[in-house]
């Protein structure tokens, strides 16, 4: 089953204040999206980040000492948890909310890379539109948003990629197949960063590295996401029928500005999952995966090698090439999108080895490095100059008049996977072949009757008893289309549910 989505936590600041309260600012930003008062609709009942896919449950999630202190203060704030979250479900099926200290946009579920990239770009527009409204009320362009993963002071925030996978694949097989791939995926999908950080340990300027998140990877496997961050997150929160599916929740990835990098990151990961399912992934076993993530990130020449348990050594490119060759051998001709991924993956690996300047505008770390090196020559400054970290930050600003990447894109120098019309469609509605499309349709058509929403269900009020559309196994595109048709044709959601459930009854 092919289904994926992206969650992006945005960095937020106020340039008119000496100190910013990110909880309040994130809450105000999300609420600026609304034209009416906030009504709680998100249903938290299905969210439980304590279940571990390795077969146990943890009593609590770890966070660092500084965040412990912040959390204690947060309990005394003059608003409720739900007010703080300000969870919104959007007409495109996306979720937009305050993930405690960061505005977060979660795309609706997508089946195609083109839809995913368009929905991700729609997210940039939605958060920036909210910032524009907030700035109007503040009377100046004070709020700025960054689609990045670090504050250059040892604080990281995430861009998580999610994939629906069959529960029939044993979790240890997923781990073994994915770890070397994820360690090396940054050569394609890293967003690039000036300097080196560590959790709570500040920032050392200088040295450009491939990834924003590599410095924050501390273990191979963990259910935690804010501390002791893992290469492979073991949270077992499927948001689907738990007997059939699991949701692979990857927190190692950088937020990408380049559309091509987003497509390649998700496309290659989806292909590797397909390889694992077919037992065709290469047999690689790294000696020290966590150290390898950092080692590979800090070598922009891509020459560093990491040891395998069998004593041999491989570079990040060589690891990627092994996965690429296995995928080419096993999956070529599977379908049009898989062939696109294989072609672009192979070409990108070749260009990274031979002529990476041709990847400017396609891969973020290559693009950012080129911008910074050009600027350094122009200004005659070195890697230790603090200006470079500021330029790195500004590369990710989603304000069209300020962001460096968006400036590059506006000049036609970035590889686009979407047209403006695709983004406008993604702003208006979710994919027509996933339950995200159904969610968006219900929000648009029946805004007053939607009582609560979760990824896998929608509850409607307005009748004698609330009724629920269950979507925990609604993944076949033909079924999604039938469900959409029922909700498009019906006068109210109860009629739609009768039609939809009647169809199920007639099939049984």
């Amino acid at each position: 089953m092919r289904l994926f989505g992206l969650e992006t936590e945005y960095g937020i600041t106020r340039e008119d204040l000496p100190e910013v309260d990110p909880v309040v600012e994130s809450m105000e930003l999300v609420r600026a999206h609304l034209t009416a008062s906030f009504e709680r609709r998100w249903d938290y009942a299905g969210e439980d980040p304590h279940e571990d896919a390795r077969g146990f449950r943890v009593s609590g999630l770890a966070q660092d000492k500084e965040e412990d202190e912040f959390a204690t203060r947060d309990t005394h704030r003059p608003f409720s948890f739900h007010d703080m979250k300000s969870d919104l479900v959007l007409p495109n099926g996306a979720r937009f909310y305050n993930d405690h200290t960061h505005p977060e946009y979660s795309t609706p579920e997508c089946r195609t890379l083109k839809d995913l990239v368009a929905q991700d770009r729609a997210g940039e527009r939605i958060v920036q539109r909210a910032a524009d409204r907030r700035n109007t009320s503040l009377g100046g362009k004070h709020v700025q948003l960054y689609k990045n993963n670090t504050d250059f002071h040892g604080h990281s925030y995430g861009c998580h990629d999610n994939y629906l996978v069959s529960r029939a694949i044993p979790f240890p097989r997923l781990i073994a197949g994915l770890l070397p791939f994820l360690v090396s995926r940054q050569v394609l999908a890293g967003s690039g960063k000036v300097g080196i950080e560590a959790q709570e340990s500040g920032f050392v300027p200088g040295r450009f590295q491939l990834s924003q998140r590599a410095d924050f990877m501390e273990t191979e496997l963990s259910v935690d996401t804010m501390h002791n961050r893992p290469i492979l997150n073991t949270r077992d929160e499927p948001h689907a029928d738990p007997k059939k599916f699991r949701r692979l929740h990857l927190i190692i990835g950088d937020a990408n500005m380049c559309e091509y990098a987003t497509a390649l990151k998700i496309g290659t990961t989806r292909v590797v999952l397909e390889l694992i399912e077919r037992r065709a992934a290469p047999s690689l076993e790294l000696e020290q995966p966590v150290a390898a993530v950092k080692q590979l990130s800090r070598d922009i020449d891509l020459k560093a090698v990491v040891r395998q348990k069998n004593g041999s050594s491989l570079s990040g490119l060589e690891i990627q090439e092994q996965y690429y060759r296995a995928a080419e051998l096993t999956l070529a001709g599977l379908d049009e999108e898989t062939d696109w991924v294989l072609r672009e993956w192979g070409e990108t690996l070749t260009l990274l080895a031979q002529d990476r300047r041709r990847l400017i505008g396609r891969l973020d770390w290559v693009t950012k490095l080129w911008l910074l090196e050009t600027f350094m020559q122009e200004e005659r400054i070195g890697w230790n100059d603090p200006w470079l970290a500021s330029l790195d930050l500004e590369y990710h600003n989603v304000h069209p008049e300020r962001g460096l990447y968006l400036g590059l894109e506006a000049e036609g120098k970035a590889w686009r996977m979407t047209a403006e019309a695709d983004i406008q469609r993604a702003l208006a509605s979710g994919p027509a072949d996933t339950r995200g499309g159904v969610r968006g349709l219900c929000v648009r058509r029946f805004p007053d009757q939607v009582k609560s929403v979760q990824w896998e269900r929608i509850q409607f009020g307005g009748g004698l008893l609330p009724r629920t559309l269950h979507m925990d196994d609604l993944f076949e595109p033909s079924e999604v289309k039938r469900c959409l048709a029922a909700f498009e044709a019906a006068a109210d959601p109860m009629d739609a549910l009768n039609t939809w459930n009647g169809r199920e009854d007639s099939q049984s």
Partner: protein, 63 residues
């Protein structure tokens, strides 16, 4: 700044992620117009960035 080494873009028939033509509103891939006045715009944008911006930028740990 030198933009003379910008990447070429390819158009492929049957591509599942077709790239729009240069006249489509709002973007799509356009060949870089190296040497155009636009190149100075990005440099100006970079020079406007406050060198101390990253030093002031503070976030709380996220996920």
């Amino acid at each position: 700044m030198k933009y003379s080494t910008m990447p070429e873009r390819r158009e492929g028939p049957g591509d599942p992620m077709p790239k729009p033509g240069p006249t489509e509103e709002g973007g799509g891939p356009r060949r870089p117009e190296t040497g155009s006045p636009e190149k100075d715009n990005l440099l100006k944008r970079m020079k406007k960035v406050d060198p101390k911006q990253a030093e002031r930028y503070r976030q709380r740990t996220g996920e």
